[in-house]
């Protein structure tokens, strides 16, 4: 719960910065987010020491790790570009997701096959990929908001507070590229892991469902195709920045769908908690 409160404090500071544009507010916002990340790192580190592997299995562990990665991804973008305008859009996502699992139980034990190196590659890469897509989605939405103001010739609050369209487009495409590469690594890592542990897991009821017909695995592949098409169209087919921004938002909607409802109501292959 305290982690969610720290993210709430960071969100409030980003609201203050967005409305006042004071340098002090910006520094406070960045400082609070950094504090939240440090505390979060400590918490996840403690669980890792206890379990022997990062606590990424199960809903609470996976979502919390995802929030931590998204916060790191955003903060690195903020520090590298010195732009705080999109913090107000990213931090609510951190608050909502961390709040969602605030009362959930972190994993206390994990099956032995979770210690295999490819499981860390699979889960870690996928979570970071989803964090990148989340960031791309938020940046894409801010792009569309600013684009609308400029197109309607009524520059307003987004015009004054957000970075330029070109900067937002670059941030969006960079996040999608990183996310897609990590998604590829994660999917390949998962396939290799499955091959390695299929004997060890022979009696596991989830094993028969680890095929392309499983909704979670199928959705992950569809997501990979959508982001791949986005990148290819942007590079070779002249897809405009605005459409790319929309597509990155739609892609993340699929990711969210796969990450939460599909995984826990329909899929039978990934029920680890």
């Amino acid at each position: 719960m305290s982690l969610a409160l720290l993210y709430v404090a960071a969100f409030a500071a980003y609201v203050w910065h967005f409305s006042s544009q004071k340098a002090l507010a910006g520094r406070v916002a960045t400082g609070l987010l950094l504090l939240a990340i440090l505390v979060h790192t400590f918490v996840l580190g403690m669980y890792t020491m206890e379990l022997g592997v990062p606590p990424m299995a199960g809903r609470t562990g996976a979502v919390s790790t995802f929030v931590w990665m998204l916060a790191i991804a955003y903060l690195s973008v903020e520090v590298s570009t010195d732009e705080r305008g999109i913090g107000i859009f990213v931090t609510p996502l951190l608050v909502a997701l961390q709040g969602l699992v605030a009362h959930g139980a972190m994993p206390t034990d994990v099956p032995q096959y979770f210690a295999a190196p490819f499981v860390a590659v699979h889960v870690g890469a996928l979570l970071f990929a989803y964090a990148s897509f989340a960031l791309a989605c938020v940046v894409g939405i801010t792009y569309v908001l600013l684009f609308r103001e400029l197109k309607r010739r009524t520059p307003g609050v987004f015009f004054q507070r957000l970075p330029s369209l070109q900067v937002l487009d670059r941030m969006n495409m960079r996040a999608v590229w990183i996310g897609w590469l990590l998604l590829t690594i994660g999917l390949v890592g998962g396939a290799v892991w499955l091959r390695d542990v299929s004997v060890q897991m022979a009696d596991d009821p989830r094993l028969p469902h680890m095929t392309l017909t499983d909704p979670k695995i199928l959705m992950a592949l569809v997501t990979w195709v959508i982001y791949g098409v986005l990148l290819a169209s942007r590079r070779w087919a002249g897809l405009t920045a605005r459409r790319a921004a929309w597509l990155s938002a739609v892609g993340f909607a699929l990711v969210l769908l796969n990450f939460l409802p599909v995984a826990y109501f329909f899929a039978r292959s990934h029920n680890f908690a």
Binding site: K22, L150, R153, Q160, P163, S164, L165, G238, T240, A241
Partner: protein, 440 residues
């Protein structure tokens, strides 16, 4: 000491008078020398296209004001009759308030414009480097820099573009970010086109001028170091450029929807920013419907400028409050300085008494050890410090000159401070007359 301001600005003087009284940057050191010859040796001269002002420190503000006016008129070769009506003379808090308002952009032609703070800093730097500046001027100008910065950061007074050209550059930046790798094209070579070209050329990679009047195009290209292309090749230039300002006098459209579609196809749908400053319009309004095009016309830009100006007016009241606070702080400091000669004389007097008592008791104190004698010296010094602390603070806190003069006179009389000063003076004179001891 008092602060005196003598000057004229766009509020009081027409352009012809400001032109005649204007002093270019390179002439400022010579003008300061001239003021110094007339007895004004601690001054800053601020001269921009909208104002010429002298800030000086003097014991008698009215006579100094007169001397500065006479000096400026003589230096610029204008008669007093020509400038008297336009001149203003202000002193102390009023003069400080004026400078703080100038530095904050509150006194500018376009409220909140950013250049003036740099010009104030430059004027101070020149004065400081050429003739040196005293404590009062230093404190005043550092206060002006601080308030200039604070007003801009805390009130939003300088936010938003307030000229058509600047608004266009701001919009272009919001679309493309850094413009240094982008190319700019201007259609036409009239005054609007020229202003846009001059403004954009400072930020973009290259500027191309396309106009039916080749001679005017070449003249403009020479002025801004740009390039000219023929009118028929204007769409080829657009394929490479990202920003277009069109300001021709053509009666018909010079960019139709069909032509724009061809250009965009050749550009692989990279976005474009088009500004139509012509009346009647140069660019077909339908072009605005194309996804990759951001089209702004004269009315759109005017709307943005007016909105920004209105927003700045809202920030004026807050900025004035900040200026008033800074003026109060500065004036309090200046008033406290008037007490300094009396405070110094009083402290000298007390110290003299302390020393003479210690000298008188020296034979008795000789029986004490060196550490005890040092303690006696320290205790007596602390007693004097404590006795003088409250009168010093009270004196510095007096906020009008008459009361200050009366209190100072009373103190001087009660403690015979003037006799003390005379004694010190004669001691110094005697010391100076004594020949130096030969070095053995």
């Amino acid at each position: 000491m008092h602060l005196v301001l003598v000057g004229l600005s766009h509020h009081t003087a027409p352009l012809e008078v400001r032109e005649r009284m204007g002093i270019t940057r390179s002439m400022v050191p010579a003008a300061l020398d001239r003021l110094s010859q007339d007895g004004c040796d601690d001054a800053v001269l601020l001269s921009t296209c909208n104002r010429t002002e002298v800030y000086a420190v003097a014991p008698d503000p009215s006579s100094m004001g007169e001397r500065i006016v006479a000096c400026l008129a003589d230096y610029r070769g204008v008669s007093r009759e020509e400038i008297d009506a336009a001149l203003y003379v202000r002193t102390d808090a009023d003069a400080a308030r004026h400078l703080f308002r100038v530095s904050a952009g509150l006194d500018s032609l376009v409220v909140g414009e950013p250049e003036i703070l740099g010009q104030v800093k430059d004027a101070y730097k020149i004065a400081n480097e050429s003739r040196g500046t005293g404590t009062v001027i230093n404190r005043l100008f550092h206060g002006a820099f601080a308030i200039g910065k604070r007003v801009r950061s805390d009130t939003g007074l300088a936010e938003g573009a307030v000229s058509l050209s600047y608004a266009a550059v701001t919009l272009a930046r919001k679309i493309f970010g850094d413009l240094s790798s982008h190319h700019f094209v201007v259609f036409g070579a009239g005054e609007m086109a020229r202003l846009s070209a001059v403004h954009f050329h400072q930020h973009v990679a290259s500027t191309t001028i396309a106009t039916r009047r080749q001679d005017r195009g070449e003249a403009l290209a020479a002025e801004i170091n740009g390039q000219v292309t023929s009118w028929d090749a204007r769409f080829d230039a657009l394929v490479e450029a990202d920003i277009l300002v069109s300001a021709t006098g053509a009666a018909d459209l010079v960019v139709t929807e069909l032509e724009m579609r061809r250009v965009l196809a050749a550009r692989r749908r990279r976005p474009m920013f088009l500004v139509d400053l012509a009346v009647p319009r140069d660019i077909a309004p339908e072009v605005a419907g194309m996804e990759e095009v951001f089209l702004y016309n004269l009315d759109d830009l005017r709307g943005i400028v007016q909105e920004n100006l209105a927003r700045r007016q809202d920030a004026v009241a807050k900025a004035e409050r900040l200026v008033n606070d800074e003026v109060a702080a500065w004036h309090g400091w200046l008033r406290s300085r008037a007490a300094i000669p009396t405070v110094v004389a009083l402290r000298t007097r007390f110290e003299r008494v302390r020393q003479s008592e210690l000298d008188r008791l020296a034979p008795r104190l000789a029986a004490l050890g060196p550490e005890a004698r040092q303690r006696v010296d320290e205790i007596t010094r602390l007693m004097v410090e404590k006795l003088l602390l409250t009168p010093t603070e009270q004196l510095k806190a007096i906020d009008d000159h008459e009361t200050m003069d009366a209190y100072s006179a009373a103190l001087r009389r009660l403690f015979a401070l003037d006799e003390d000063a005379a004694a010190s003076e004669s001691e110094r004179a005697a010391a100076a007359a004594t020949p130096p001891r030969p070095i053995l």
